[in-house]
Symmetry: C2
DNA sequence: AAAACATATTGACAAATATAAATATGTGTG
DNA sequence: CACACATATTTATATTTGTCAATATGTTTT
């Protein structure tokens, strides 16, 4: 089992909230600092910080600290991992076509 | 914008819960009926039904009704859509390398 | 060192979600 | 048609999650 159930939920939790999805859209134009994201999103600073933590935990976003600023960007490697993960969990290895059911 | 933020959250909500991820693992062996899933999972029938609804809403799982039984399977088309969606939301279209930040 | 600033953390609360018991719906069978 | 059975829905509740205010941490500037 390449990915644990828990790992999978952590990865895709990044994409389960509309605000976080919107943050991805902002990061698609390239690296952005937290203050920039804060201006664009209708969120308070602590809430943004909370979402950025979830995004970084997922591996889909990378945080780079530079002085007092945090710069965030989409991780190509993280995206690759998520892609592999999605492919792995949706792959069907069926050989038989009949549905396994409790009523025989 | 090919996918709305809302659509994206609905798709990936399927993979945000450990029980639902486990259901994917069961379905990877081929189509299964609800009663079979219920035997394998440590859930009550209403809870399983609730999760199956979320999975079907995501498009990643298909429900097929046959008499009084519901047969569930992973949707190859749904998986393809999710893949495209993941690719789309993690794609970076940056031309500039410098980080856009509020401090100029 | 003090002040100003950017971000993170804590604590409290509201909203959303997962869960199960009870009930409803729909389907096959006697 | 009555009954048994599989699944869905409703209702209530516990847990999780998103949110913000207040505060803490760490960095730069004066």
């Amino acid at each position: 089992m390449e990915f644990s159930n828990k790992q999978i939920t952590v990865i895709f939790k990044a994409l389960c909230d509309e605000n976080r999805v919107q943050i991805f859209r902002l990061l698609q134009n390239g690296e952005r600092c937290a203050c920039h994201l804060l201006e664009e999103m209708a969120l308070t600073q602590p809430t943004l910080s909370h979402h950025m933590k979830i995004l970084c935990d997922s591996g889909l976003v990378i945080g780079r600290k530079q002085g007092k600023w945090m710069h965030y960007s989409i991780s190509a490697e993280g995206a690759e991992v998520a892609m592999d993960c999605l492919k792995a969990i949706t792959a069907v290895t069926e050989s038989e076509s009949a549905s396994k059911c409790c009523n025989k």
